[in-house]
Amino acid sequence: MKPSLYIFQWPSDLGGADTRMRDIVTLCAHDYDITVVPNDEFRLQEKNWTDWMDSLGVKYCMLESLPDKLEGFAFSCCNFRLFTDKERIRGIKSRGLKFIWANDMMWHTEAELAAIRQGLVDVVLYTSQFHADKLHGDVVSARPMQPMRIVKNYIDASHWPMVVRPDRQPVMGKVSRPDTAKFSIDLPMLWQAAAPLWKYDLMGWGDDVADKFSWHTFDSRWKLRPPCSISVKDWHAAVDVFVYNGSFSYIENQSRAVVEAQLSGMPVIAPPKWNFPNMVWHTRTGFLVDDLDSMRAALDSLKSPETRWKMGSLARECALSIWCDERDARREWNSLIAFAAEVR
């Protein structure tokens, strides 16, 4: 009999938390008896996802449909409604589940910290030492003896094949969920300044994002795609270099979009801070740049299709070995669950 794992979240193809959850379900379906519990009932009508869960033998239902007493574990990643809608977190705890909470963001919410303070979270999960360093201070302030673990992100490589890109006017781009904080306010000026002869492709261009940049005249070099307007795989094929430029307004924990781009064979340009130095091998799989001159130099060297292919291929190899080791990831997850089982 497999241990039971209840995942309080619904999968999607957009955003780090939902794609992480999707990959965790795939990873753990063999070892655990998984039930997925969404926030909203309409999710249960999303046939593409219920079909996918059926194929893995994963069950799905609303919280109210679960028996009053359960044995096993609950997991959620960035579903902050568990804390704001208090009946959800109470529903998890009252049923006797051990709750593992992963906040993949770089900040806490008041409701989340209040739940931790009350001892409603059994294990706090981080994705890296960097992540823990940034967040765990507040957690410890809320609950000094709060158990925590670090389990690195796992990415299912089967979703992200290597892409052979044509020789063309080079395209730099970024894909993201449509969050204004994900697009630095100077992005259009910066990209045009860094590589005026390139094309630019952004996916995740929702209404709020468009409004944020309404002051800028985007010329024919720009392709601004609404979120999920094409599949990320197709977007990978349209772009040659992934560029992540940060700003004070958003600290990135671990961009799964960066790893997915690397798996597709894209070199990445990112800032030399946060977790990026663990993700981009400077001058080998991309460039870590902290000023415009070095960004220009990086893009200049990436004008060559051969350089892009060479760096992109190595980026894929590195990403596969670091983030996509299924056996290692299963071992880490089983160890996490064993740890949670022991937490009182």
Binding site: P3, P144, M145, M148, I185, F248, D291, N334, A338
Partner: protein
Amino acid sequence: MSAERELIIWSVAWGDYAYMLQALVSSLRRTGFGGKIVVFCDRPIKEADWRPIDPNIDLDQLQFWKFEYLCKHMAKEPGKNLVFIDSDHYVVRNVSEHLPKLIEDGPWHSFLEGPINTAATRRGDWWGCPNAEFVQMCRDFGVMQKEIRNSNGGFWAIRSEFAETARIVAKEFHEFARKRGHVFPEEVSIAVMSHMFSEDHQVRFADKWPHVWGSEWTGTLQDRVPDGNPWKLVNYMSGETSLVNPAIVHAMRSKSALIALGKSIAGDEVVMAEPQKVNVPSPGVQAAMQSQKPCSACARKRQQMLEAQAKAQLEAAAGKADSSPAPALTPDSITVVDSSTQDSDSAASITAQAEQTEAQQMASSSQKQPSLLDRLKGMIAS
């Protein structure tokens, strides 16, 4: 002339600064500027579109009111390019040709004056912030340009559609710096934006526009109205000197002469009614504003900065007091927080807490739930 129609020069002044504004407006007209000039002032100004001071805009200590006026009153003007000029400027030649060019390369412009992080830099700080710290702050905020320069808040230009973004970014940087212990006036945010919102920020280097604008801050023109003759400009950060003759002079040391000129222009034709009551920030600031001493603008800004700095520290102290008892706060007890010390302390604290947590986790590991755990161990082993 068509370019003139697309731009509006605007300003805000009260008290004696209103007379300087009159002198500025008249100098613009006398040198041939035929475009729209909008002034917000506590008394009427000749040859301009005069509007009263908005009593609902707080004349905040650090001059962020400029952005409030921009968004509330100027952003919806039909003009596309809005040029703000502080009242202590004076124009000696026609500027109609120059002004539209400033804003060709992006939505925002201020002149970037002296280098903060190059070999030519001589001054060690800007607004009390050591250069290295300031540069790091800019980097962390998102400034990517290698060479970072200071700017002057007295003259800037903006496309009207960018107004709200500029207001937000200016305040965001201000808040960002405040959290690091620095309370800056508006011109620091203005400098940051001139880097971030340029495809080529070197276009904004003041030394590329010596014929257009220059800031006379050393007293070369002390108590004299600029007359169109060259004068010696000293770069604020590098100390380098050059002989310049810009069309627009930021005549910071000519205030008494400009006030006298403005009064004479106002003459009897203007009904000098009682000045409109203005929400001035504090008696200290008011005194500095009314002072006829040289460099009153600097004194005012310095005073405002110190007041805001003290306020921020008091707020911070009050915030800490919420969680732990603090000693009574007296003026003597207000000190600038050493952020490096603070960081290392908090880092040490987190480490200690993490060790404590780990110990607790190890202790809790001895508690067993055999049935489930055995199954899991079996899974790991397999």
